[in-house]
Amino acid sequence: MSKERPMMQIQRLAVSFSGESGRVRAVNDVNLTIYPQQTLAVVGESGCGKSVTALSMLQLVPRPPGRYESGRIMWRNDDDDEPVDLLTLNERQIRSVRGNQIAMIFQEPMTSLNPVYTVGNQILEAIRLHQTVNRKTAIQIAIDALVDVGIAAPAQRLKEYPHQLSGGMRQRVMIAMALACQPRLLLADEPTTALDVTIQAQILELLRDLQARRGMSIMLITHDLGVVAENADVVAVMYAGRIVEYGSVTDIFSNPLHPYTRGLFASMPVLGQSKHRLETIPGNVPNPADFPPGCSFHPRCVEMKDDPQCSTENPQPLEVEQQHWVACWHAPAYNDGTASMQDSGYRRQAEPAES
């Protein structure tokens, strides 16, 4: 199967919400590309639009107050299919995508399972919504799914209620439920944030393992750079609803170009280094209702604060190096005319061949 054709291309996506202070753009001009068997990490602070981007893919942004302002989310379930725009599907069509082609897991495994049903009941429901199988077969699929996520005594766990399981177990169940229909893309919205560190590591390892075995793609939403380094192939850094830097995990980690990305790295504790205080990025995330003019990061930017261009013109992400986009007027090669606008379509070929 060809890995060269993207399975998902988000093009100039913009999502707005109406709030007390009028319409605010939660996501602005976002371009992303996901290839088969790739892990894309979307990194950013709370409220930067990473979850909204993921929810848009399944048309799960509540409308109202949300609204898709512009853009397309082209999705190709099978390599031979013509891509469809997920945003134009009707309720029935998008329902057959949800859970079946694209699945999602959430941050809070403690509350993501319905307390009145047994675990088995819920996995069976997810299976039988998309597959016409009899109960016996469905139970077998569910047991297999639980085995797949490393749950011991699966036949018995099926009869248990969510309150009888620990957080790690519940997240495993959620993953089993999400993967029971063999989706091609898994949206993982901070899947480990609510878990203990040891369980986090297990869950991430599980995701990697499942990805390798099933050949699915993962969009990993997180604010934990450690998680990104270990799991992602490609990284998109979001700030205030826009992508500010986008590139392979090696490029982003070895050569971060945007001051915000650099700030994120600087604020990470380093093992073995004794420091009294961690670095912080000065200031706060701007209120979406009141983004500063120009580059929305400029009031917090320590590097080039006084440049009038930063406070008047908003930089678009440009490809300043091979496969490395950045939206900053002061990034090297940003202004010299060699950087190309492009559609931020991260190209597969440049990646080191895997497996």
């Binding site: 399944l58 799960l60 109202p64 309720e91 329902r95 057959s96 995508v97 949800r98 859970g99 079946n100 699945a103 999602m104 959430f106 809070e108 509350t111 993501s112 399972l113 319905n114 307390p115 009145v116 049903y117 047994t118 429901e125 997810a126 919504l129 998309h130 996520v149 490393g150 749950i151 011991a152 018995q156 009869k159 248990e160 209620y161 009888q164 620990s166 790690g168 177990m169 495993r172 959620m174 439920m177 999400a178 229909c181 040891t198 369980i199 297990q202 390892e205 599980l206 393992d209």
Partner: protein
């Protein structure tokens, strides 16, 4: 592959089979002796009503049981002390000689008050049950739809029930009962009038709960695996608020029994058959007689009293049992 959960050793090895929230609640409820006793009383009432329905007892309530006298006093207040031969009877024998239909005396037509009371259970329980079911059938779907869909649908439903609830409740019931009794036979008018006027509280309750639940993560999870709106409402949210429907039901049921009594007292109840309300209605004339006739009133009141007491106590215990926050209190 994966190391089989590190959390397994930490878990207690005991719970072999999952216990649902309902089972849990039932186990908590069962610990309450008083509530259990009340549940038995409710069961007894239901059983009596069922037997009356089957026609095994009290079907002949309209036949006079005495010919000699109107308003026969309750038999235990005038025991026969000697048999036909003039031999004195022991207390035990005296009590045993009383015909059961005379235990509570008779009314003006010589009809047995006991039989009428039993027959009244049938009417009262039927009315209360059907009215409750009707108001659940209206209130729950309306509340769930309003809460889940929001927007214009929500506004219309809220407007509807606000309008309805701004009319003084009992006047509304009276108006409905008055209009309906011309069109619907017997007790149907009563329970329809009660049902269609009293779903507002439940609807409002369910709407609020659904509003709360629709943003829960498990609903988001269900959406993500492709469940339709109706499936999410019916299979995911409603079961999570169903305990409220049940507790509301127990309290509502009492209210309907009282409402039926009041409607009957006001002459809007069932016309041809005795109910506790019509019995109390008759009693208002009987009490003014000299000597006053109190037994019909006493029998009907006692019947209402014990049932509402039992329902209230059991309902209260049920609410506690179903509230996970009070798990360790009882």
């Amino acid at each position: 592959m994966t190391s089989t959960d590190t959390d397994t050793p930490l878990r207690s090895p005991i719970p072999a089979k999952g216990r649902s929230l309902w089972t849990d609640a039932w186990l908590r409820f069962r610990r309450r002796k008083l509530a259990m006793a009340m549940l038995w009383i409710i069961g007894l009432y239901a059983l009596l009503a069922a037997i009356v329905f089957s026609g095994l007892i009290a079907a002949d309530w309209d036949q006079p049981v005495v010919t000699s006298e109107f308003y026969e006093r309750p038999a235990w207040s005038r025991l026969v002390v000697a048999d036909a031969q003039g031999n004195a009877l022991t207390k035990n024998e005296q009590y045993r000689k009383i015909a059961p239909e005379l235990w509570f005396g008779t009314d003006i037509f010589g009809q047995s008050v006991l039989r009428k009371t039993l027959y009244g259970a049938r009417i009262s329980l039927t009315v209360a049950l059907l009215a409750s079911l009707l108001s659940i059938a209206i209130g729950v779907p309306m509340g769930a739809i309003a809460g889940y869909c929001g927007g214009l649908v929500d506004e219309i439903i809220v407007w509807l029930y606000s309008t309805l609830s701004s009319i003084p409740g009992f006047l509304l019931i009276l108006a409905f009962a008055f209009v309906l009794r011309e069109r619907l036979p017997g007790i149907t008018a009563v329970y329809v009038a009660l049902g269609v006027t009293s779903w507002v509280g439940l609807c409002r309750l369910i709407r609020g709960e659904v509003l709360k639940h629709k943003n829960r993560d498990y609903v988001a999870a269900a959406k993500v695996y492709g469940a339709s709106q109706s499936r999410i409402i019916l299979r995911h949210i409603v079961p999570n608020v169903s305990h409220l429907i049940l507790t509301d039901f127990s309290l509502r049921f009492v209210g309907f029994i009282h409402a039926e009594v009041i409607l009957s007292y006001l002459g809007l109840g069932p016309k041809e058959e005795p109910s506790w309300g019509t019995m109390i209605n008759e009693a208002k004339l009987e009490l003014t007689r000299n000597p006053s006739v109190w037994w019909q009133l006493a029998a009907a009141t006692a019947a209402v009293l014990f049932l509402s007491l039992a329902l209230n106590i059991a309902g209260d215990a049920m609410r506690d049992a179903l509230d996970p926050k009070l798990k360790h209190v009882a």
